[in-house]
Symmetry: C2
Subunit: 342 residues, 2 copies
């Protein structure tokens, strides 16, 4: 029976506060290339890993959450693209490409195959299935079309706008006929928003002393739709600048994930005076919409109507730094880790 060496990134211990590279470590085990009998499982070779902000929550000790905590001493788990090496499952065969939950390691035995998507379209970069054609893309799609209730001509503000979700939300909003402003944390990202993704305006939130004033500059008549990725002070400033009957899609709050106590939100009365709707959502509730999303987005990609920027780290050993970089905004575009190109 064949054995392979299997490099892994494991979580060493539960994390409090800002995560560090040293909270994870690399180790190499040996794996038998054999599936348990009647396991219904897959043995996959991992190709690309996705680094996503929600993963921070899984690094904390178990608590009341929508996602379970990682297990210290075991590999990090996240979205990825993989190739089937062996299958004990009638729905998959050797050589199939899949995306879904996998381990941060070279080879993974996946028993929960229900949550895997088979990759049918390979005339796009495979790594896109960690983001634009995976969880982040579907998040942007249902978040914008379903949760934001957009109308042509609406003014739309997107925070963390150069991230995996934000860059697509802005482009979908532009295609829909909205006025779109994005914020990000560096000049390079702001340039991307304006010159690559076609946002009408963009600003570096780190250079603004007064977020309220910044928003008033870009939205003198107010914001119809806010796509919320950051939370905290930004959300508070946005509430002051929403239009009557504005909609907020609450997708993420990355600014708060490493704080012991989240920042306070002081402008909640605006919800009433401006009749604002905030709707929190999670993509897990919308997986049934994935085929419809693919039908829409694949032609847009091929025609160049939608573009996509990835920040690719090469090699599993770069994964800890890539993950942590999300929380300081080091990545420019979607953060991907390549384990193997095939």
């Amino acid at each position: 029976m064949a054995e392979v060496s299997n490099k892994q990134v494991i979580l060493k211990h539960y994390v409090t506060g800002f995560p560090k590279e040293s909270d994870m470590e690399l180790r190499t085990l040996t794996l038998k290339l054999e599936l348990p009998p009647d396991s219904n499982a897959l043995l996959v070779k991992n190709l690309y890993l996705s680094c996503d902000p929600y993963m921070r929550d899984r690094m904390s000790k178990p608590h009341d959450s929508y996602v379970p905590s990682f297990t210290p001493g075991s590999p990090i788990v996240g979205y990825g693209v993989a190739k089937v090496v062996d299958s004990d499952n009638p729905n998959f065969k050797k050589g199939d490409l899949v995306w879904g939950m996998t381990g941060w390691e070279e080879y993974t035995i996946i028993t929960d195959t229900q949550a895997l998507f088979k990759i049918e379209h390979t005339d796009v970069p495979l790594s896109y299935y960690t983001g634009l054609l995976g969880m982040a893309g579907l998040t942007a799609y249902v978040g914008f079309y379903e949760v934001c209730s957009p109308k042509k001509g609406d003014t739309v503000y997107v925070s963390a706008a150069s991230g995996a979700v934000g860059q697509l939300v802005g482009q979908l909003a532009k295609l829909f006929g909205c006025y779109v402003v994005g914020s990000a944390g560096s000049k390079e990202k702001v340039d991307l928003l304006k010159n690559k993704f076609g946002f009408d305006e963009a600003f570096n939130y780190k250079e603004e002393q007064d977020l309220d004033a910044a928003l008033k500059r870009f939205f003198p008549d107010g914001i119809d739709i806010y796509f919320e990725n950051v939370g905290g002070k930004m959300l508070d400033a946005v509430l002051l600048n929403m239009k009557l009957h504005g909609r907020i899609a609450a997708c993420g709050m990355i600014s708060q994930y490493n704080l012991d106590k989240p920042e306070g939100l002081h402008n909640s009365f605006c919800l009433i005076s401006k009749r604002i709707r905030i709707q929190g959502f999670l993509v897990f509730d919308y997986y049934h919409r994935y085929p419809q999303y693919l039908d829409m987005i694949l032609p847009c990609i091929k025609k160049g109507m939608v573009t996509y920027v990835e920040d690719v780290a090469e090699g599993l050993e770069t994964a800890p730094a890539a993950l942590i970089g999300l929380f300081s905004g080091r990545n420019v575009g979607k953060q991907v880790v390549t384990i193997s190109h095939q």
Copy 2:
């Protein structure tokens, strides 16, 4: 030309912090019982005045708000029930009873007659048109049926539940087949909720050291619907106790109205992890639904399916204390001021 003495309650100056009786004063002017020619106006005799929490905002100096500030030196303005004494308007005639915006004085000349409702049903106490059959009742009706998206069997929590809006929300939710818990600020009010309004459970929030624990006691499986009247710490505790896909109708935040800086809300991430919707609303957007509301509520009142408790202060001179009492919770039930019974 006849003249009458016209007692008024005027705002002396803009208010900061907690309002005091001495922020208002009584004065008596003389009024000519004559309407300006071609004024299209009404001269009304005021019968009942409504004291409502939103009026606090109008006592502050002009600021970005959904309601204009009162004018110092002029009478307080609010909802009331009045009788038409003279009409220069084809839609109203002498003797008609109306409810809508009027002055805190014995007689008022109303020029904005668009916002007045003619009272057609007089086989109920006229004072009810300051609340149950007026703004507060319509607020509860659209807030519960439209904003909360209720389902039979939902668990419903109402804060400030013995107030004008809260008491009806609870009863509508019970009639709809929900499990309903209310909170209020005294034993007397809690007794009312359980024994008069038929709430399943009720508690005195002032006796709870830990609001989160209190909510867990009454909602071990969580809250589907929160009807928000108070804001602040209560909203923060509720967010921790909402069920997945819960709905919050944000109607008022009375705990915050006298604070220079509103309390911070720290649990907003629950919006995402639990996919919660918060929808702020104002009754002004729903006045067109009033006839439909009356068709529903009048039979309920007559059949005893809905009950109503008012706290009635007699005489215009009691109005300042009655208004201020709202913010310390002195009133038990809807706060009304009687100026004249006919």
